[in-house]
């Protein structure tokens, strides 16, 4: 069986699956139960400043019969007494010495306050810290959480305060609620962080009740923005992860990254790791299904690794990073067209209407006589010479592998946009662009 254990800037864990700092990691009972069921680590629910919670903390995005494809919350950091949290943290670490116990902390923006909580918490024997610079509600209004994560100078400053006194690894948890996440990531690096984690939750309003006009979540008739998480945020998390992981400064520093935001299955976890995450954290999926999901995560990842011939996680962590690129560096000469497999096609004509109404009108409905039915329906047929290769039809087709995008060679030059505008800056004018298209065999009508 492949070896799933990881070493995250010195924090060792039997597997890459950690509970995220959130309700599932709220107490010693929960964390120890999770370890028993197979979780490799837990980032304890954030401790620090005193808080009071409200009722009706959640709103959800349910989609066509599936519950919780997205989860919004207005919960604050831990509201349990700090002493109790520290006592239970010490106990969990004592009972599970080989598992990763990481303390998430957040206090007001004062050096003494941060340094005091670091010193106090280290006495539990925990393996590392995670600095919560991401909570987008309640705490941010008090100058904490995302209010710190959104100002790179603060991120760096607080990280430096912590690094001055911490003797164990420190992970900085980033907020997605910024324009360019690479900037706070670099600030954390400059502050001396040992690792990064992302993403915290995304600002969101879940919905409005059509009868009562109340917002969701509904706190006694009022509502406001809360943090969004769960499967629906995965693409955003993957983008922010890849942006940070592929950043040259971060790459050079070799800071490990703990990825999260929508991880629900081993497949999600593998994707995060292929894009550079060393560990993954999970909150919403556990809130929905319980700790037990980890068994399949471990087994599914092991089976996949075995199939691919990977012996350790390091064999595939970051394997897709070299493919992270930018529009300007894509090959303009790469051409594909849609091809329909009429043996599989069930003639729903969704491809036809999508192409006709929302793409480039290059699918026709034709009589093909491929069966001996008297009343054979018309078949969708792609006019390949007019197909721009946008891929919409294959995305809407309900039948697996029925429409495939096949690569074709149209003799277009293999050049990127950046190369083109460098060698032919004149194409930035429409007339010259038309001329270039003629020579490059690109015809758009």
């Amino acid at each position: 069986m492949p070896d799933l254990s990881i070493n995250f800037c010195g924090i060792k864990s039997p597997n890459p699956f950690w509970l995220a700092s959130a309700p599932p990691a709220n107490s010693g009972y929960q964390v120890q139960k999770a370890f028993e069921q197979g979780w490799g680590g837990a980032v304890w629910k954030t401790i620090g400043a005193p808080v009071l919670n409200v009722c009706n903390r959640y709103g959800t995005m349910d989609y066509k019969g599936s519950k919780i494809i997205g989860l919004n919350n207005v919960e604050l950091i831990s509201d349990r007494p700090i002493e109790l949290n520290l006592k239970e943290m010490a106990e969990a670490k004592r009972n599970f010495p080989n598992h990763a116990v990481i303390a998430s902390i957040m206090v007001e923006s004062k050096k003494e306050a941060w340094q005091e909580i670091v010193k106090r918490t280290e006495q539990t024997g925990c393996d590392g810290f995670e600095l919560n610079f991401g909570c987008p509600h309640g705490m941010s209004e008090r100058g904490m959480g995302s209010a710190m994560g959104q100002v790179p100078e603060y991120t760096r400053m607080v990280t430096e305060w912590v690094m001055e006194v911490a003797t164990i690894p420190v992970i900085v948890k980033l907020t997605p609620n910024v324009t360019d996440i690479v900037i706070p990531a670099r600030a954390a690096l400059l502050g001396g962080a040992s690792g990064l984690s992302l993403i915290n939750t995304i600002n969101s309003v879940m919905g409005v009740d059509l009868d009562t006009f109340e917002l969701q979540p509904n706190v006694g008739g009022k509502g406001g923005h809360g943090g969004y998480a769960g499967p629906a945020v995965k693409p955003i998390a993957l983008h922010l992860l890849s942006a940070v992981a592929a950043d040259p400064d971060i790459l050079k520093s070799r800071l490990p990254i703990s990825g999260m935001g929508g991880v629900e299955t081993w497949r999600d976890a593998v994707e995060f790791m292929l894009l550079g995450a060393t560990s993954v954290q999970v909150c919403t999926a556990v809130m929905h299904w319980g700790f037990r999901i980890v068994e399949d995560m471990i087994e599914g990842m092991s089976n996949w690794m075995e199939e691919k011939g990977f012996e350790t996680c390091d064999d595939f962590i970051g394997k897709s990073l070299p493919r992270v690129s930018n529009f300007g560096d894509f090959d303009l000469g790469f051409q594909s067209v849609a091809r329909i497999n009429h043996d599989k096609c069930i003639q729903c004509n969704l491809c036809y209407i999508a192409c006709n109404d929302a793409a480039h009108q290059c699918i026709d409905l034709k009589e093909l006589k491929i069966t001996d039915e008297a009343k054979e329906r018309l078949w969708p047929v792609v006019r390949e010479e007019d197909c721009v290769g946008c891929d919409l039809c294959s995305r809407v087709c309900p039948v697996d592998d029925c429409i495939t995008m096949v690569e074709i060679d149209t003799g277009r030059p293999h050049i990127t946009w950046n190369e083109l505008v460098k060698s032919k800056p004149e194409v930035l004018e429409w007339e010259e662009m038309e001329a270039y298209r003629e020579t490059a065999n690109i015809h758009i009508h």
């Binding site: 081993w266 497949r267 999901i293 399949d296 043996d343 491929i370």
Partner: protein
């Protein structure tokens, strides 16, 4: 040709003979399996799992199909039930797992059986093996009878490190999974693939050896540290009416066996077939007669619809297959001409006061005799108890219960070295494959505990549900 334009032939007479004996339900496509798996709620302490006699962790195996870990899904199933591929097909899911699914009321239950088939077939097609023989512990066990109970026990014992030999009187192993379950429910290959899996665990299966004839129990007991008796039941009993020896009168089990072992086109069947009995085997006989091509198939049962022992879904299946029923009808004589059956004389019945079984006792209606013409008559009124073997075991102090071998909840008989399970101990409860598999598991755990002191966790895990 476009796949979906291939004609869907749903009328029996449009199908070829071979097509009519394909599995009733086609396998799930990947898409169907994933859609169905995603419909499952992944309940905590799920009732479906509690209802499974082998305690398969159903929500977990279904979730693994949903996440694309089909290999792990099969492992979850087989960990609890080595005959998972057979059970996926033959279990009366409507009264077990699916019957207890929480979606029963509002939606429709999850197709647990078909999902289980999807996962186990996946592993089988890919030749994936999940278990290895345990470290040899130096102990020898003989298993008598290679049906689901015997194979399950043998496989679990091999995992614990026992050296196991299974003696089977028939040419093939698998018991009724190989010889008795109609092919359109379970093809023979599925059962034989399970046999192969058990053999690959290091179990020796000796076919063609009948215990009591070719080898004695004395010999087995002398040579082994324990024996597990899983001989099942016998053939269909006599109806004890005149004419049973006429040509054209068949034993229902032999009839089913023929359709599993012979070329379908060579099997003789009548055009007016009467089946006596109304249990699940009787339904099997009636429906295969229809599928072979019999024009009229009538089931004759002395009580009414409400008392019939067949599962309701089996009754519905028979009706759909075009089988007709004569309730409150008792055969009294089989009529023949030139030594061949040509009719069955019956009397009408009424229901009187409840009898010992709580069902209303059928009583004759005077002067109500009539004849149902037929050219084939199939007896399917149950299976005889294993009297011969029980007589051979009696000198060892083995006790019986209602004519079955008596065992305790750990499948121990009254002799310290002898364990038993499967249909031959089923003095109460429904005789079914899954119960036989569970007996084998429990017995293996008890043998392990008794002989090498292991298997405590297994024993706990397999406590009877």
């Amino acid at each position: 040709m476009a796949e979906h334009y291939k004609p869907t032939k749903y009328k029996a007479w449009e199908l070829t003979l071979e097509e009519r004996f394909q599995e009733v339900y086609p396998p799930f496509s990947q898409r169907e399996a994933v859609l169905e798996a995603n419909r499952c709620l992944y309940c905590h302490d799920a009732p479906c799992m509690v209802a499974c006699p082998t305690g398969i962790d159903i929500p977990t195996f279904i979730r693994k199909i949903a996440t694309g870990n089909v290999k792990g899904s099969a492992k979850t199933i087989l960990e609890s039930n080595l005959m998972g591929a057979t059970c996926a097909r033959v279990c009366p899911v409507q009264v077990l797992c699916e019957g207890d699914c929480v979606l029963h009321a509002d939606e429709k239950p999850i197709a647990i059986g078909r999902l289980q088939r999807y996962a186990t077939d996946y592993a089988n097609e890919k030749g994936i093996r999940f278990f290895k023989a345990g470290q040899p512990n130096g102990k020898k066990v003989a298993v008598v009878g290679a049906g689901p109970a015997g194979l399950s026990c043998a496989g679990e014992l091999a995992k614990l490190g026992f050296s196991v030999t299974v003696y089977e009187k028939k040419v093939w192993a698998g018991g009724l999974s190989t010889y008795g379950i109609v092919v359109f429910r379970e093809p023979v290959e599925v059962s034989l693939a399970e046999v192969k899996m058990i053999e690959e665990l290091g179990v020796t299966i000796r076919n063609g050896i009948e215990i009591g004839k070719d080898l004695t129990f004395e010999e087995l007991i002398a040579e082994n540290d324990a024996i597990f008796v899983s001989i099942g039941l016998g053939n269909v009993p006599e109806m004890e009416i005149p004419g049973e020896n006429l040509e054209g009168v068949h034993d229902g089990l032999d009839f089913v066996e023929e359709t599993k072992t012979e070329a379908l086109s060579t099997i003789k069947f009548g055009h007016r077939v009467c089946v006596v009995g109304a249990g699940n085997t009787a339904i099997d006989c009636a429906t295969i007669a229809r599928r072979l091509g019999a024009e009229r198939v009538t089931m004759i049962y002395r009580r009414s619809e409400a008392e019939m022992p067949a599962y309701h879904f089996e009754y519905e299946f028979a009706l759909k297959e075009g089988v007709s029923f004569m309730f409150l009808t008792q055969p009294v004589e089989i009529l023949g001409k030139d030594g061949k059956v040509h009719g069955i004389k019956c009397v009408r019945m009424d229901l009187g006061q409840p009898d010992a079984s709580g069902r209303r006792r059928p009583v004759h209606v005077p002067n109500s005799e009539f004849v149902v013409p037929c050219d084939m008559l199939i007896k399917a009124i149950g299976q005889v108890k294993p009297e011969g073997i029980i007589a051979m075991l009696a000198p060892f102090g083995i006790e019986t219960e209602k004519g079955y071998i008596k065992v305790d909840q750990h499948n121990r008989t009254t002799h310290a070295k002898i364990f038993a399970g499967g249909d031959c101990v089923r003095s109460h409860g429904e005789a079914s494959t899954v119960m036989a598999v569970q007996d084998g598991k429990i017995a293996a755990a008890s043998i392990g505990e008794q002989l090498v002191g292991v298997a405590r966790p297994l024993a706990a895990a397999v406590s009877k549900r």
